[in-house]
Symmetry: C2
Subunit: 472 residues, 2 copies
């Protein structure tokens, strides 16, 4: 193999480059570059990868799930800049130095797999999706055309089909996106395209003011989407929620009427299944009734709550979800598929996704290929290169089966239930509200405030305590 | 460690679950779930990861760069569905079966690292970014707030600063995005925000028709972006290019005048540095003059060509790039940082990126944190969770140094030069045009057509031959 001219040759082995080249064949010199000369030292590179993998295994995979290890070796930005050698220089660093750098990166990074990492709505280590993720990185694919990603496109198709089944649709379409925020944007754009296909070519200029409805507790990506899509954040109507953070259907309908009276054009209602802070589930069935009455697209942002669909016990939280036109669902959260793994699922089967998004790039999506080009799904996306995120979820599903995924959801919600009961029992803890899902909102009230009345002074002091606690 | 209750306990080890739980402590049963009972078998999981890593190393890292191996074991969609066990079932598969699945996935996937993979504008295996990618997957971070991604946010800052230096700006801002298409969208939205900040809240409705200019050879993401952002594809003016695929500045200026005459509102010119098909570089200096005269934002889509900036020999291709307002540059292409690694760089230092994109989510971007919250860069993004793609490029830069990256660019372009000379020498090959960059466009003309005149019949037949060749 080492005599093959295409195999990359060693450079660090103490052999003089020019000499080695000339001993094999005459050097091909173009623009000052010896084309058939040595480039990367493949053997050394492979050894480096092996050593780094060992380090990752020992320092991240084994240690990071160990409660005896810290979640994070905390340093302020100023301190960390001193500790890390961030600068990129003219000459490279040797492998042993790079391994030290890797060690530093691991040391000062937050171990999001750690059992005590509670910063965001994801946690835990899933060995199966981790393997899938390593495979993706090694294969470095992009899922736009079948010819370049045959396996991953078929896997995406299979995973979407299965997720659609759990939503309760007979058929549908979908795509994996880099984040639930992006899925929400896709849905908003799809709803707009459905409302008025001309927007794709003509744009919004000169059209009546498009307006959409979501709850006051929705994810902030709704505002980002409205701004990015040229709809404007003022045209997002935030519908009031009840004491449990759920959208009030009557309020929704009142606002739709109000918007129409003002000459705006309602086109979309976005309900949330699992709000970010309270973990609330909007009443989908009642909202679907309203959408039907007014001919509005119903999008359900189930980025967080969608995983409950896999549990026979808890899927009632999303009762009515099959009536949605589109659903965003992120298996990278409770199902631990690794950041990011986010599906947008669409009920329509008239190829709306493709019609809405296609740009028909002739260099990529030729129509005279030697296979069924309906597998070239890249033109359904706003991205050109796209990662095969479905594969991560597929691997975990293969490993655990639907029953294993169900157990994961049931367990997370049982643990939450347990925490709630403990909070209720313990002095100095105040539950904000009975949770529906895995978000437990509570206050810790220090002894000095326990007798104080809940006025402005109480809350000011309590807020200060919380900021101080986080500083510890 | 194994006696720690937080450490996950084995389940497959032949021990009865209930027995094990009760031998340690009494079972905590909530909603039918034994909370302190066994969940995942961590030891078995770790062993699975180790075995899979060995497989990835042997079958992908070592083999896929070997020219004696195939680029792809090709199967049609129908065949592949038969060969792969895609279905997700109720019960999971054992580890040995999962490893076989992994093997199948590798076998039928395209080896994009292979020296003979020429399908898209990326190729080759970079050992350093590969290690960075493995680390990212193991640590599973998200770069929105410093508290959850301290190292990766500082790395992103350092990489952006360095890229900005190579563009030739004294200072600037930027963000890594999931693809060059998304970077182009960001730029379009930024330019629009700069033109009229009210659009963020008010939207486009009722505004004059916004219009933008790009070359006829631009990437198709321009159309996608215009459609997604509510501008409309009809409002993308495709400026004519010369024989080498470069935007003709006089044509640009003529179209700007024309648009103004028609009552449209020009706000952006998007030049391309390295077009997708021909690899052409638009004349940035002349285009910048026009943008200055007309007060238009100049975005340079250097997703493909940006890497030339690292070569002292070839950076002249982007002469004038420092006059751009924003630049998209993808180190995942010629610099091999792994899909995706895409920066949008912005000259403005008045925090335009943040003003344009922020939604100020109070649950994530609290202002009373115990560190300098200017490091919480997540609100500059349309994404919520975001991958630390900058880290991949940083690792390669650390390993090779600027000089090593420069060599990589010089070598790629010297190889292209060599290919061009070989094409010219060889019968039956017809060079389409003298390339400027690494895109070599040529025809293979089979013996039967070599004497034929280049009329419609000739081209019809030639096109047919090419489709047949690809089918082999």
């Amino acid at each position: 193999m080492s005599s093959d001219p295409d195999r990359e040759c060693p450079v660090d082995g103490g052999i003089d480059q020019q000499e080695m080249v000339s001993s094999k064949k005459s050097a091909v010199l173009v623009d000052g570059v010896i084309l058939n000369g040595p480039t990367t030292d493949a053997k050394a590179g492979e050894k480096f990868v092996e050593e780094a993998c060992r380090l990752i295994m020992e320092e991240v995979v084994l240690k990071a799930t160990d409660v005896n290890e810290k979640v994070c070796e905390w340093r302020s930005p100023e301190q960390l800049k001193q500790l890390l050698d961030l600068e990129m220089r003219d000459t490279g660093e040797p492998h042993h130095r790079l391994l030290e750098l890797c060690q530093d990166v691991i040391r000062y990074s937050v171990k999001t797999n750690h059992p005590r990492f509670f910063n965001q709505l994801y946690a835990g280590l899933d060995y199966y999706s981790l393997v899938a993720r390593f495979m993706i990185e090694a294969l470095n694919p992009s899922v736009y055309t079948y010819e370049v990603s045959p396996v991953f496109l078929l896997v995406e198709e299979a995973v979407l089909k299965k997720m659609i089944e759990f939503i309760g649709w007979k058929e549908g379409d979908g795509i994996f996106n880099p984040g639930g925020s992006v899925s929400n944007m896709y849905a908003m754009n799809l709803a707009r395209y459905k409302y008025c296909p001309d927007i794709k070519e003509k744009g919004l200029s000169g059209l009546p003011r498009l307006i959409l409805f979501t709850s006051a507790e929705c994810h902030y990506s709704m505002k980002k989407a409205a701004s990015f899509l040229g709809i404007g954040t003022d045209n997002v109507c935030f519908v009031e929620t009840d004491g449990r953070g759920k959208m009030i259907p009557d309020e929704l309908e009142r606002q739709i009427w109000q918007a129409r009276k003002e000459g705006a054009a309602p086109f979309l209602v976005c309900a949330t299944s699992g709000t970010t802070v309270l973990g609330a589930f909007d009443p989908l069935d009642e909202i679907a009734d309203i959408c039907e009455r007014h001919g509005l697209w119903l999008h359900v942002d189930a980025s967080w709550g969608g995983s409950a669909l896999l549990s026979r016990k808890h899927r009632k939280l999303l009762h009515g979800v099959h009536r949605a036109d589109s659903v965003a669902w992120n298996p990278h959260k409770m199902l631990m598929a690794g950041i990011q793994c986010c599906a947008l699922l669409v009920k329509d089967k008239s190829d709306l996704l493709k019609k809405c998004y296609s740009a028909k790039a002739s260099y990529l999506f030729q129509q005279d290929k030697f296979y069924d080009v309906s597998y070239d799904t890249g033109d359904k996306s706003i991205q050109c290169s796209r990662r095969p995120d479905a594969f991560k979820f597929w691997m975990t599903w293969k490993a655990l089966g639907t029953s294993g995924l169900e157990e994961r959801v049931n367990r997370a919600l049982a643990l939450s239930r347990y925490l709630v009961e403990e909070i209720k029992k313990r002095e100095g803890f105040k539950l904000l509200l009975e949770p529906e899902y895995a978000n437990i909102c509570f206050w810790y009230i220090p002894p000095s405030l326990r007798e104080m009345e809940e006025g402005p002074e109480f809350w000011a002091k309590l807020n200060l305590v919380i900021a101080l606690l986080l500083d510890l």
